[in-house]
């Protein structure tokens, strides 16, 4: 360890040593910033600390509402830093006087300090990051060598191309067609009667640009991509060529000439094709890839190409005036008759042209940044990994923000962008600081309203509706390819990452850099798929933008959906590359996917209020937008408003779908509407009564009634301290919502605990305590029957034979059907059981029963009620929570795992997806929450990771709590490394034990099956994506089991099939009969099976969801040893 660290640190020293002067200026500058904490001993880490503080201050600059890192923590960190430096001196001194061997120790301390006082408090994060950077740093390998060899050969070929004389467009095209080359003209293609000529001449120069040459690509990428730039000689271009696509036509011709030469010279070893650079139709490039024919491994033709060279054309940076290509200029003139003032600006066109002129300039900029700032390359690498994992990229189809944009923005921020034109980032920042500060910029500054301008903004004056990072020196908008929606997506992604990085308790490393954001189904609540072709035919529009149609679509949906959705995101398929011998494929193929992130609060509103009828202008606009759907209505408060009324969701379509369909039909025609496929909450029909917590309300009201009734009893011998609920039905989390209408009795009574005020008259004996509790219950039941109307109560016994455990309960059934199971909580039981377990003279069996009794006491009386409260709070906080829990439980039940995985664990898993949603936002729909929980289950490494959930939402689980849970987890794993007893470890802010629910079950086999099933489900989601039928995730084959017992419906007391119920022989037909409350023969049967055969068979049961019990012979007992002689009586 130590050597590698030392080496890295040395590297840093070396690199800072060869820095030029201005980086030293940066060093001293930041030193001054924190002069109050200045110490004579300036070593590597103290510099780092100062930078950290510097960043803290800069944060304030970027951050408009600096809630991220409050003032006090900065002070605290300074204090820590100061203290640690003193400490360092002491330790160093001690090390010197003692023995030189201790130096590595001191080193470690300083290393651990260096990350501890940085912005990332967690040491493990920094270690992981260093480790990752080490692995992904570009290195010279086989494919790099191959690609570079190819580069040289290509360069030679291009240099030797013979010039072609100037000829008209038609002649040029014909000439090239003879060589089977098509010129990739942008749309619209040049008209036949243009006067200018197309010509080819030797390129001015050929360079390699981009991330490869800057060494900022990650080495673990599948495809090595190298950008080669051929500069067109300036004499081919005229000063007016920037207008009306002329430059692009000439460029296309030049490119076709290069392609002709390349395919002629290297056609058999490389495949040469056209492609659109970053999906920009104006900028075709040549793609060169190895064909695989000449590769040494001939028998693997299907192997993906290892590298790819993109050949782009550039122009000298002074051929056209930069001012004329400003963002507000129009360069595509209409016919002369039209008035000039009507020409709208063409920013995409202008910026695309500027891109061609600035390729070398940006290479120089990035190179300078890399040499002046030691951490620049690492920051770019981190950025590239982050972008990769969030599926963002430079091409328009991936949002228009990729490695290049990231690298250039970081480079620009190192030179300016701060207040008063100062640099926002310092050259001495660590890579993580650069990364985080850039993220902050992306997340917190709205670049649409307040563009970031770097350098003297001469030509830049106005703000625009698009995101702008204006590089004044090169007069170019870095974000020119971004759209409204992709910018929003980028911003929210950056925000989420920042939030995750700010969370001190959870390791955000994986979600930030390595976990790829998978299927869109997980990302969005609703997906709408439209046929691109239908959309293209439907309407015309005047706006000039990457895809004007999409802008319209976005604008219409955004306006129409209003506050029903938080985010609208559009995805278009990327344009594929095409053969150089054929014409460019039409741009509008495939389908456009619209992703919606729904706001669950408003999404289901049935009536929309528009402007008042008095407001003529607005009302007219409203009517124009909504057409016939807009109706004038008078509301209860007397106001007369334009309004929209949607059908209720029970009819089949959600309101969001109705709105979208209506708008598509109105604005884009019936064809588009017809082609639209809507994927929303497909899971909803899988649940019975799925609308949030509403189905649980009757039971909750009955519970309140119960509480008042019990508190109203006057003759109780002790006063009541509290009544708590401890049941899935009372925390909105049971698969079936309890239906207590029409006097049908609830099948499973909801557990409730009752605690009396303390009294010294309770007996001092555990068995006697249990009997006393029974006596209290008897009395309570008597009083209830006598004093409260419409209620019936009766006693029940449990835990037969374990007389220190709870022995009985009181079932209270209201005539309306609500049923409760009341147990008495006596707080001294715990102490008595603990004392009993400490007794030395106790025999193992009694000890074991006491341990079991203690565990069940904690579970039923202490943790159960706390858990219930926490979950109930979550259910009211997040509208999608209840549905998700019920769906996840249904999933477990469908796969016959519900008798192994406790309900509480399933609830905690779901709670985790809601409280730690990273890398997504909080799920707002049931399906989304469900799929994300499955995704997490699939990758949860329960062997190494505890599940820790802070459900409070206010950070009630403090550092101490996390540490305590962590220690417990480690201790369990040390104690039981084979995972025979505790497999899943799940703690929450109300339960620091972590084993309350999982002591003894599930077993390793079951947990493994859970992971495998979730993995399979995720695979299906990935593979089928939008075509997924959620119901298929709930289908589990029974072939895997050794035998299956099919239970009759009667065993579940199924009231839906009460006509064919099997209770005839019992003469208890009447479902209104209270005696059947709590009668669950299937459960009793399973318990008995487990008792009788549990040693040899593992049983799987899905409860009422799936009426089977499946069994697997335990592999341990299959070759069963002859046990007769062991069983000595």
């Amino acid at each position: 360890m130590a050597p590698s660290n030392a080496k890295r640190r040395k590297l840093e020293h070396v690199s800072s040593g060869e820095d030029d002067d201005d980086s030293f200026a940066g060093f001293s500058g930041s030193e001054e910033d924190s002069s109050e904490s200045a110490q004579p001993s300036v070593n590597a880490e103290s510099v780092g600390q100062d930078f950290a503080q510097g960043l803290g201050m800069d944060d304030g600059g970027i951050d408009e509402n600096p809630a991220e890192e409050p003032e006090s923590t900065v002070h605290l960190e300074q204090a820590v830093a100061r203290a640690s430096r003193e400490e360092q001196a002491i330790v160093n001194g001690a090390a010197k006087t003692a023995q030189p061997k201790q130096m590595p120790m001191a080193n470690k301390i300083s290393y651990s300090r260096s990350y501890e006082s940085g912005p990332s408090k967690s040491g493990i994060f920094k270690l992981q990051m260093d480790d990752m950077l080490e692995r992904v740093r570009p290195r010279q390998g086989k494919r790099e060598a191959a690609a570079e060899a190819a580069l040289h050969r290509l360069k030679q070929t291009i240099e030797q191309i013979a010039p072609r004389p100037a000829q008209s467009v038609e002649d040029a095209e014909r000439a090239l067609l003879k060589e089977k080359i098509v010129i990739p003209f942008p749309d619209p293609r040049p008209s036949k009667d243009v006067l200018y000529k197309l010509e080819y001449a030797k390129p001015a120069n050929i360079t390699v640009v981009g991330s490869h040459v800057l060494k900022v690509t990650s080495a673990v990428r599948r495809l090595l991509q190298i950008d080669m730039v051929v500069q067109m000689p300036s004499h081919l271009l005229q000063s007016k060529d920037y207008l009306n696509y002329r430059f692009f036509y000439k460029r296309a011709y030049y490119l076709a000439c290069v392609a002709a030469a390349l395919s002629g010279a290297h056609g058999d070893e490389y495949s040469v094709s056209y492609s659109s650079m970053h999906d920009n139709v104006l900028l075709p490039v040549i793609q060169v890839r190895p064909t695989g024919k000449t590769s040494s491994v001939a028998d693997k033709p299907a192997k993906a190409p290892a590298w790819q060279i993109d050949i782009a054309l550039s122009a000298a940076d002074d051929v056209f005036s930069a001012e004329k290509l400003g963002m507000s200029k129009n360069c595509v003139r209409k016919n002369d008759e039209q008035v000039k003032a009507h020409d709208s600006p063409t920013p995409l066109y202008n910026s695309s042209l500027r891109t061609c002129m600035l390729m070398n300039a940006y290479l120089v900029l990035q190179h300078k940044a890399a040499s002046s700032c030691a951490a620049y390359r690492d920051a770019c690498l981190m950025g590239s990994l982050w972008l990769e994992s969030k599926r963002l990229g430079s091409s328009i189809s991936r949002g228009g923000f990729g490695n290049f944009e990231w690298g250039v923005i970081v480079a620009l921020l190192l030179r300016g962008g701060g207040p008063n034109g100062k640099a926002l980032l310092g050259p001495g920042y660590s890579s993580y600081q650069l990364f985080k500060a850039t993220l902050q910029l992306l997340a917190l500054q709205d670049l649409r309203k307040k563009p970031l301008v770097v350098g003297e903004a001469k030509s830049f004056t106005e703000s625009s509706e698009w995101p702008v990072v204006w590089d004044a020196e090169r007069s170019h908008n870095i974000l020119y390819k971004m759209t409204d929606w992709s910018y929003q997506a980028l911003q929210s992604t950056a925000k989420r990452t920042l939030a995750a990085l700010g969370d001190q308790h959870f390791d955000a490393f994986d979600s930030t850099f390595t976990t790829p954001v998978s299927s869109r189904l997980l990302d969005h609540d609703c997906l709408i798929e439209l046929a691109h072709a239908a959309l293209a035919k439907s309407a015309t529009t005047k706006r000039e933008r990457s895809s004007p149609l999409l802008s319209d679509l976005y604008a219409v949906l955004r306006r129409g959906l209003g506050d029903r959705v938080d985010e609208v995101d559009l995805h278009v398929p990327s344009t594929p590359d095409w053969n150089i011998g054929v014409a460019r494929p039409p741009p509008s193929t495939g389908s456009v996917t619209v992703g919606l992130r729904v706001d669950p609060e408003h999404a289901h509103r049935l009536v929309d209020h528009g402007p008042s009828a008095d407001n003529k202008a607005e009302a007219a606009a409203f009517r124009a937008f909504w057409g016939d759907k807009a109706k004038l209505r008078r509301f209860r408060d007397g106001s007369i408003l334009e309004s929209l009324v949607w059908a209720t969701e029970e009819a089949g379509q959600s309101v969001v779908e109705q709105v979208c369909r209506y708008l598509l039909g109105k604005h884009f025609g019936a064809r588009v509407e017809g082609s639209a496929r809507f994927v929303g909450d497909e899971c909803i029909p899988l649940l019975w009564k799925a609308n949030g917590i509403a189905p649980f309300q009757p039971l909750m009201e009955a519970y309140k009634q119960l509480e008042t009734d019990i508190r109203g009893l006057e003759a109780l011998p002790l006063s009541i301290r509290q009544i708590m609920s401890a049941d899935a039905q009372l925390r909105f989390a049971s698969i079936e919502a309890p239906s207590i209408t029409h006097g049908i009795k609830q099948a499973a009574p909801a557990a409730v605990t009752l605690q009396f005020e303390g009294s010294s008259r309770w007996p001092d004996d555990l068995v006697a305590v249990q009997r006393t509790k029974l006596a209290f219950l008897l009395k309570l039941g008597e009083l209830m029957n006598d004093n409260v109307e419409a209620v019936q109560s009766r006693m029940g016994l449990e835990n037969q034979g374990e007389d220190v455990s709870n022995q009985g309960f009181l079932d209270i059934t209201y005539d309306n059907g609500a049923a409760f199971r009341l147990r008495i909580h006596h707080e001294r039981e715990q102490g008595m059981l603990e004392r009993q377990m400490k007794l030395k003279e106790l025999d193992p069996k009694t000890k074991q029963t006491s341990a079991l009794a203690l565990a069940s006491y904690k579970r039923d009386f202490v943790k159960g009620s706390a858990h219930t409260q926490a979950i109930a709070q979550l259910a009211t906080r997040f509208p999608g929570f209840t549905g998700t829990v019920r769906l996840i439980k249904k999933w477990f039940a469908s796969h016959l795992l519900s008798n192994h995985i406790p309900d509480e664990i399933m609830e905690l898993c779901v709670a985790r997806s809601f409280t730690q949603p990273d890398p997504w936002s909080v799920p707002s729909s049931t399906q989304n929450g469900f799929l994300r929980t499955l995704a997490w289950l699939a990758k949860w490494n329960w062997r190494e990771e505890p599940l820790i959930v802070d459900m409070s939402g206010s950070g009630e689980l403090k550092d101490v709590g996390y540490q305590a849970i962590g220690t417990r987890f480690e201790a369990w794993r040390k104690l039981d490394p084979a995972l025979n007893r505790v497999v899943l470890f799940a703690a929450s802010h109300v339960d620091h034990d972590g084993t309350t629910w999982t002591d003894g079950q599930p077993s390793k086999v079951v947990a493994g099956r859970m992971t495998a099933l979730a993995g399979a489900a995720m695979q299906a989601v990935e593979a089928q994506s939008i075509d997924l039928d959620p119901a298929s995730l709930f289908v589990s084959p029974l072939e895997d089991y050794d035998f299956v017992l099919h239970l009759s419906a009667a065993a579940f007391g199924s009231r839906k099939k009460s006509k064919e119920t099997g209770f005839k022989n019992l003469k208890v037909q009447n479902t209104a009969d209270t005696s059947l409350v709590g009668f669950q023969p299937a459960e009793d049967f399973l318990t008995e099976l487990q008792t009788l055969y549990g040693a040899a068979i593992v049983f799987f049961c899905g409860g009422a969801e799936r009426k089977v019990i499946a069994g697997l012979w335990s592999p341990l007992t299959a070759p069963r040893a002859w046990k007769v002689n062991l069983r000595v009586f």
Binding site: I124, S760, L774, D811, N941, A1096, V1128, F1129
Partner: protein
């Protein structure tokens, strides 16, 4: 038991006779099954007077009752009369797999009073099952009326094995034992909700005995406290002034005192304390760092890098 195709049915293992029993099919699974019961004369390490007339059974079917065994030996295996049957363990709780000594004396229902008995014996809660079941592969000891009966039973079993006579399990017990299946659980449901009155009675009985016992014990303790024993010492026993509630108070007080003491010699009172604290912090830091490093390394290994 484990599903394996036994190619040849063994007739004896060690000194056990292997008796095949035909378990008739059920409506839900209309196929006959064979269950193997192992028998031998009982040979415990410490024989008792009853040992000669006992037979040891292994792998008794889970639904065995003494009615089953009585009818098996009386009607199908020569007519030996059984005095009593003792099954392995009583009801064995979930998760407890170790064999438990058999409960010889089965408590008879209704016989619940008795002067001077321990409270565990009186005031028992009502039974919640109408019939016991036994763990798969369990054992039982059958005590016959006399030694010849036991020998007759074993001989008959051996003969039945040899002749291949078909012996049907549970023949002739219909109506004599409560049924299994859904009705068993319905009965259980009924039994576990006993009548208010019965439960009250049982608890009253228990509480009375318990109270009497407590009173007696308190009396003895009080006497012990008051009287020196023969050596002239007074035994220190629980009770008296320090009842449990006060014990807690004492503990709290002790903690408080301890805290006060700590406060008096504060953390940074002596220079060495300060030094040691710093040292501890540094060590903790290094420890944390080392741990993090290890974890990262593990993570890397897991990724396979």
């Amino acid at each position: 038991m484990v599903p394996k195709k036994s190619p040849a049915v063994v007739t004896s293992v060690n000194d056990f006779t292997v008796l095949p029993l035909r378990v008739p099919g059920l409506p839900s699974y209309p196929k006959d099954t064979t269950h193997y019961l192992y028998l031998r004369p009982n040979a415990p390490k410490a024989p008792t007077a009853d040992t000669p007339r006992e037979v040891f059974l292994v792998n008794v079917p889970i639904d065995t009752t003494d009615v089953h065994l009585r009818s098996l030996f009386a009607d199908q295996l020569g007519g030996a009369r059984i005095e009593s049957v003792a099954f392995e363990g009583a009801r064995v709780g979930k998760g407890i797999t170790s064999p438990v000594a058999p409960v010889r004396k089965k408590r008879k229902r209704g016989q619940e009073d008795g002067e001077g008995a321990a409270p565990a014996e009186v005031g028992q809660l009502p039974e919640v099952w109408d019939r016991d079941t036994h763990c798969s592969g369990g054992t039982a000891i059958v005590t016959f009326v006399d030694k010849p009966s036991a020998e007759l039973a074993l001989r008959e079993a051996r003969r039945a094995v040899k002749s291949g006579k078909q012996i049907t399990w549970g023949e002739g017990v219909d109506g004599k034992v409560p049924a299994l299946g859904l009705s068993r659980y319905a009965a259980h449901h009924k039994l576990r909700h006993p009548s208010h009155h019965a439960l009250q009675e049982s608890i009253d009985a228990y509480m009375t005995t318990f109270a009497a016992q407590e009173a007696a014990r308190a009396k003895t303790l009080a006497r012990q406290r008051a009287e020196p024993d023969e050596d002239g010492f007074i035994t220190v026993v629980r009770g008296g002034r320090s009842d449990p509630a006060r014990e807690d108070a004492v503990r709290l007080k002790e903690e408080e005192l301890k805290k006060r003491q700590e406060k008096m010699i504060g953390e940074g009172f002596y220079k060495f304390q300060h030094r040691e604290r710093k040292k501890r912090e540094a060590q903790a830091l290094v420890g944390q760092f080392e741990m993090d490093r290890r974890r990262v390394e593990e993570m890397r290994k897991r990724r396979g890098g």
